[in-house]
Structures are given as structure tokens and as C-alpha cells.
């Protein structure tokens, strides 16, 4: 039997893989949004770079 580029197992797993890919992308966007919300909040203090270096 010739090896084909597309096997039926790829079709079965495609939906699942697309779903996982979308969830990972959404997670990345969510972490970016959380970071933005925290950094722009009133009670956020930028860490002192000189203190951290010492």
C-alpha cells in the first residue's frame, strides 16, 4: 500500500487539533489582556530597576 500524505486518522484528529489550537490562542490573548489590566491599574507599581540590580 502506498504511503499517502493524507490518512483518515488525520481527518479524525483535525477537529480536535483545531479546537486545541484555538483554545491555546485564546489563552494567550487572555494572559495578554490580564497583563494589560494589571499594568494599567492604579495600584500597580513599576519595580525599581536599581534596587533589583543590587
Amino acid at each position: 500500500m502506498a504511503i499517502r500524505a493524507e490518512h483518515e486518522i488525520h481527518t479524525r484528529r483535525k477537529g480536535r487539533n483545531i479546537g486545541v489550537g484555538l483554545m491555546l490562542a485564546a489563552f494567550v490573548v487572555l494572559v495578554m489582556a490580564i497583563t494589560f489590566a494589571k499594568v494599567t491599574s492604579d495600584d500597580f507599581q513599576m519595580p525599581d530597576a536599581t534596587e533589583m540590580a543590587n
Binding site: M1, R13, G15, R16, A33, I34, F36, A37, K38
Partner: protein, 312 residues
């Protein structure tokens, strides 16, 4: 080269995303989301909407993780019970090991992300909730005592406290009142289910009250717990999370709930069997609306407060 007539092996079922999602007990997750959100919004501290959304999402994922762990542990009895035989593991759609891995991974992810998004106390409480449901309830209490869902019900009662802690960073009497409401609601809710599930729990060897002490005793317990719940629920109306709207709704709902509990108490098994447990099923359906309405009106009182209308 000659073709030797290869025949493909029989296809094994590969779980789809929907199967993994079903492992998380979505209906339980929706209750967790709602009660945690009410806890967060009822707290007297404003939370950034993105932080609030993300925090509730991670609480939901944590709840789903504990559901997956429960399904992994209870796969043997789920296969026996009619109500649960179609769950992903007993139905053969998901392997037990997959459910365990998913539960552990999502537990770790949700706790870590809640700590980063909200605060350490909320994350610690979520971790304790997952531990309580997966270990204390599923692995210990459920198969060993008829008080299983009384004590184990605490797991379902933590979400509004977690929501409150997300907002304020600390506990309060108001958060624990919401905890108490769900805690006292859980036994009559599940015992009504156990009554009309008939021999399901018995067949699985789960020591539900219907199995260990009989159905008559269970009917008595339902009415006793409902009386205690009604006192607590109506009493909450006079506290800082209550108010006139809450009190009006609570009085009506608790009167209906008590009526249902008394009807259950007054019936015997022959009567219940004759009408296919109509009263017990009606009480169970009412219990779902009961919890939704109480938390909905707590949210309403909190929403009206900035306009000088909510509360006393």
C-alpha cells in the same frame, strides 16, 4: 512489489473535544460560575472586568478539573448507575488515564492562574475546594457514609466564598452566609434525587441515606433539612447581603420548598411509585430554581445598592 492485501485494524474511538468537555460536568460548572460570580459582584469592592472574567473562568476550570477527577475515580460505579452510564469513561469514549491527566493538569493550571490573576487566598481556597471534592468527597465520604453529601456538599458551597475573596482578598460573614445557603440546600436536593433514582445508588453500592437508613428516614431528613434551610435563607434576608426584595423572594420560595418537602414526607413508597415520583421530581426541579433565584436576588440587591435602593 506485490500487494499483500493489507487490511486496516478496527478503528478505536478517539475522543473528541466534546467528550473531554463532558468530563468536566458542564452543568455543575455553570452553577459554580453563577454562584462565584454572585459572590464576586456582591462584595463591596469593584473588580476590573477583565480580571473578574478571567478569575471566574479559572474557578470554572478548577471546578471542571475536580469533575474530571471525580469521573476518573467513580468510573466503576458510574457504569452501574443508569443516570451516569453514558458518561465518557463508562461509555468508552475517554480512557480513565486521560481523565486523570486532564483533571490534574487543569487543577494545576487553574490554581496557578487564579493566584496570578486574583490573589493567593482565592487560589488556596480553589485548591482546597478541588482537594475536598476529589479526595475527601469522591475517594472517601461517598462510598463510606450516608452523610456523604451532607459533608461533601461543602465543595459546592465554596464558589461564592472564592468569588468574594477574589474581590476583597479576605473572608467575611456575608461570604460564609452564601456558603451556608448552598451547604444546607445540598442534602434535600440530592436526597430527593436519590428517592426518584430508586435502586440506582443501591445497585452501585453507594451508601446513600435511601440505602442505609431506608426511604422513610430519607423523607423525614428532607423535611428537617428543608426547615433548617428555610430559617437560614429567610434569616439571610435581614443581613447585609439581604434586603426587602431578597426577603420577599425568599419567603415565597421557601414556603413553596417547605410545601414540597412536607408533601414528600407525607407520602409513602406505594404512592410515589404509583405516580412515578411526581412530587419528588417536582421538588428536585424546584430546588434548581430555588438556588438560582436566591443567588439572583442577592445579586439584584448588590446591583441596587449604588443607587441607594438595595439592602436595608
Amino acid at each position: 512489489m506485490a500487494d499483500v492485501g493489507y487490511s486496516a485494524p478496527a478503528k478505536e474511538y478517539e475522543a473528541q473535544l466534546g467528550d473531554y468537555f463532558a468530563l468536566l460536568k458542564p452543568r455543575v460548572m455553570s452553577l459554580v460560575v453563577f454562584t462565584a460570580l454572585v459572590g464576586l459582584l456582591a462584595a463591596p469592592v469593584a473588580v476590573n472586568p477583565i480580571i473578574a472574567f478571567a478569575s471566574i473562568l479559572f474557578v470554572a476550570i478548577g471546578a471542571g478539573a475536580s469533575g474530571a477527577l471525580n469521573m476518573w475515580w467513580d468510573a466503576d460505579i458510574d457504569a452501574v448507575m443508569r443516570r451516569t452510564a453514558k458518561r465518557p469513561i463508562p461509555a468508552g469514549r475517554v480512557q480513565p488515564g486521560e481523565a486523570l491527566n486532564l483533571g490534574v493538569a487543569l487543577s494545576g493550571l487553574s490554581i496557578m492562574m487564579l493566584a496570578l490573576t486574583a490573589n493567593l487566598l482565592a487560589a488556596a481556597l480553589l485548591a482546597f475546594t478541588i482537594f475536598f471534592y476529589a479526595i475527601v468527597y469522591s475517594m472517601w465520604l461517598k462510598r463510606s457514609t450516608p452523610q456523604n453529601i451532607v459533608i461533601g456538599g461543602a465543595a459546592g458551597a465554596f464558589p461564592p466564598v472564592i468569588g468574594w475573596v477574589i474581590a476583597t482578598g479576605s473572608f467575611s460573614i456575608e461570604a460564609w452566609l452564601m456558603f451556608a445557603l448552598i451547604f444546607m440546600w445540598t442534602p434535600p436536593h440530592f436526597w430527593a434525587l436519590a428517592l426518584f433514582m430508586r435502586s440506582d445508588y443501591d445497585d452501585a453500592g453507594v451508601p446513600m441515606l435511601t440505602v442505609t437508613h431506608g426511604r422513610r428516614t430519607t423523607r423525614v431528613h428532607i423535611v428537617v433539612y428543608t426547615v433548617l434551610l428555610a430559617l437560614l435563607a429567610v434569616g439571610t434576608g435581614f443581613t447585609s447581603i439581604g434586603g426587602p426584595v431578597y426577603l420577599a423572594v425568599a419567603v415565597v420560595l421557601n414556603a413553596l420548598f417547605l410545601k414540597g418537602a412536607v408533601e414528600i414526607w407525607r407520602r409513602n413508597e406505594a404512592q410515589a411509585d404509583a405516580d412515578d415520583y411526581r412530587v419528588e421530581k417536582k421538588f428536585f426541579r424546584l430546588s434548581l430554581w430555588y438556588l438560582f433565584a436566591h443567588f439572583g436576588v442577592i445579586l439584584l440587591e448588590a446591583a441596587l445598592r449604588p443607587f441607594g435602593l438595595g439592602g436595608w
